[in-house]
């Protein structure tokens, strides 16, 4: 099946002023290759600062990559000008992390959800009204007439995320980037939003790029999981498999660090990665995880950069612990 969105060796290096004369390069995304097929949900997990949001913004062409290709339905959009992206803007949409700042506080819910239609001159005003109300009903903000006339500050976090979803689906997109859509709302309502998104994915045939730092929700929500560390994808695979049998040492540590509600937790240390993620302006040489890796092999891991290779069917890892299955 041909991918809806394909990233080919994409990099995003931001210039960062360091002092008066020095300019460093923050390699937020550093050579990522990724494909998401039609109707699939791919979760991108990683610590904050690993480049998840940047990758999502690249795939939406809010940012232009410093190198590499971005293909949407086979069409290269990596160098297109904003003026040439009109068609793409109707097909790719986003749901944002912060329910408080993602809705314009001065606009009513109706105008917020209607905006995409207005921007793309779709329908007359009664038709637009019809579509907005239908969308609000779809995300279960009912009575929809009531919600339409409210302002964002009158809504709870969960309700705001539904408005975000309604707005994103207004133009009937094929591809949606959901950047931490539930990380700022209560645990008790997270699953409700994700289930809603799942249903809408089925009914609209959406391809979803789900960005999160919470591997637990990724497991329940996504078909495949990609793990990102310091601007690189270090592991990809079907979500159940990755969670049950993580291969990359970083994935293993990430999963071990997640607590479960268990009374015996308090009696033992939680396993955690030593140290902190380095800054993207000073990425360690060779395997970028090696300063924190418990399987570190001197002479190898700090010399050769491990490529992302398929070690089992559908499972890719970038680590010297796993020999290339094809090379064998």
């Amino acid at each position: 099946m041909s991918p809806v969105i394909a990233l080919e060796n994409v990099s995003m290096h931001f210039p960062v002023r360091a002092g008066f004369f020095r300019t460093l390069r923050a390699k937020a995304v550093d050579g990522v290759t990724l494909e998401i097929s039609k109707g699939e949900t791919l979760a991108l997990v990683g610590e904050s600062g690993s480049g998840k949001t940047t990758l999502g913004r690249l795939s939406l062409r809010i940012l232009a990559p410093t190198s590499g290709k971005i293909l949407f339905n086979g069409r290269d959009i990596s160098k297109s000008k904003e003026g040439e992206l009109g068609w793409f803007r109707t097909k790719a949409q986003a749901i944002f992390q912060d329910p408080f700042s993602s809705l314009d506080p001065f606009m009513s819910i109706f105008s917020i959800v209607e905006e995409p239609l207005k921007v793309h001159h779709q329908g007359d005003s009664s038709e637009r009204r019809e579509r907005v109300l239908r969308a609000l009903r779809e995300v279960r903000l009912s009575p929809e007439e009531d919600f339409a006339s409210k302002y964002p500050h009158m809504l709870s976090g969960g309700q705001r995320q539904r408005v975000n979803i309604a707005r994103a689906l207004m133009l009937r997109p094929e591809y949606v980037v959901a950047d931490e859509p539930v990380s700022m709302i209560d645990v008790s309502t997270r699953m409700e939003i994700l289930q809603l998104l799942k249903e809408l994915q089925r009914s609209h045939g959406l391809t979803i790029f789900y960005i999160t730092h919470d591997i637990a929700t990724a497991r329940h929500f996504a078909d495949r999981v990609a793990v990102m560390y310091l601007g690189r994808i270090v592991e990809i695979g079907p979500s159940e498999e990755v969670v049950k049998e993580p291969l990359h040492p970083y994935t293993i540590a990430l999963i071990e660090a997640v607590p479960e509600p268990d009374p015996s937790n308090r009696l033992r240390e939680r396993s955690s990665l030593p140290g902190e993620q380095p800054s993207p302006t000073s990425i360690p040489v060779a395997c970028r995880f090696h300063p924190r890796c418990r399987f570190f092999m001197p002479g190898k891991c700090d010399v050769i950069d491990p490529p992302l290779i398929e070690v089992k069917k559908g499972r890719y890892v970038a680590c010297h612990l796993y020999p290339d299955s094809k090379a064998r």
Partner: protein, 318 residues
């Protein structure tokens, strides 16, 4: 012996729409060296409970009453001045929600850690030494002392804030969402630090969070807060393994898990408005078990020596 005994604590805010009953008749105790987890959804009054204990009251206060005994001493009878000079920070310290973002950007971290000590009359040299020692204890390298907050990562700032709260060796530490802005792995490091401090310094703690899984990492007992009231109180085992109140059960089952097969659920609807909470049981509009008696206020049923729950379901059949 309980270090903190709270009885019928109330804290209402006044607003144009009427009083916000943020803390509404809350009673609990914390034993020596014990950590009590206060869990509940956003807006249920967790931070308000902490401010009521620390007597950090907003200007739009509508009412503030009840009894708070720390080490057997009734705090509600102290004047503001006495409370400030004898209790706050000295016996009871707090790590505020988002505190790491409220560090003063123009002061060196070390000075900020030492500040409470200097403010309470300690000598500068001694304060400096204590601050260095504390920074070391929370696992920060010595050079952090002379750094500015923006030169530190989130996890380091959070450690510094914890060090700051410990500087006057309080007996009770209130931690309001101390790790919610941090990543899992950094969160794990900070939680391990807190566990160590609890063990080594025998500190009692009130740990506030909306994430029951995170709370299970440190808490010996739990108070489940809903709409300004405690709906269930019990030991970690009681609450995490045998939750009795429908809200606690729902809260647990909505936590996504990595190591079990169960699909997480969710609690439909939104938490109630604290100005006009539903009559009777406040959880009624969202409760799957709601039945006829629930239109009246449920009493608190003691289910065992350690567990109590506020729900009509525990009423023994007549």
């Amino acid at each position: 012996m309980a270090i903190l005994e709270v009885d019928s604590l109330r804290l209402y805010y006044s607003t144009e729409r009427g009083p916000v009953r943020a803390v509404d008749d809350v009673s609990f105790t914390i034993g020596e060296g014990e950590a009590l987890g206060v869990v509940g959804e956003s807006g249920c009054g967790k931070t308000s409970l902490a401010s009521a204990l620390m007597r950090l009251l907003p200007r739009n206060l509508a009412s503030y009453s009840g009894s708070v005994k720390l080490d057997g001493e009734e705090l509600m009878r102290l004047s503001d001045e006495e409370f400030r000079s004898r209790v706050r920070w000295k016996k009871m310290a707090m790590v505020f929600q988002g505190a790491m973002n409220s560090l003063n950007p123009v002061l060196r971290v070390g000075f900020q850690v030492a500040e409470p000590l200097i403010a309470s009359g300690g000598s500068g040299e001694e304060a400096k030494r204590t601050a260095r020692e504390l920074l070391h204890q929370v696992g920060l390298p010595p050079e952090v002392y002379g750094r500015f907050p923006n030169e530190l990562s989130g996890g380091m700032k959070q450690r510094a804030v914890i060090a700051m709260s410990l500087v006057l060796s309080p007996a009770l530490l209130i931690l309001d969402e101390p790790t919610s802005a941090l990543d899992v792995s950094v969160q794990a490091q900070v939680m391990n630090l807190l566990k160590r401090l609890k063990r080594e310094r025998k500190i009692s703690a009130l740990f506030i969070t909306h994430d029951i899984a995170l709370a299970s990492d440190i808490c010996d007992r739990f108070a489940v807060l809903y709409s300004g009231q405690i709906v269930e109180l019990g030991d970690a085992d009681d609450i995490l393994i045998h939750p009795k109140h429908p809200y606690t059960q729902k809260l647990l089952s909505s936590t996504p898990r990595l190591r079990s097969e169960s699909e997480p659920e969710f609690i439909p609807g939104v938490p109630p408005d604290l100005v006009n909470p539903p009559s009777g049981c406040r959880f009624r509009p969202r409760c799957p078990y709601a039945f006829e008696p629930c239109t009246r206020d449920p009493p608190i049923y003691s289910l065992s020596a350690s567990q109590a729950s506020r729900c009509w379901l525990h009423q023994s059949p007549p």
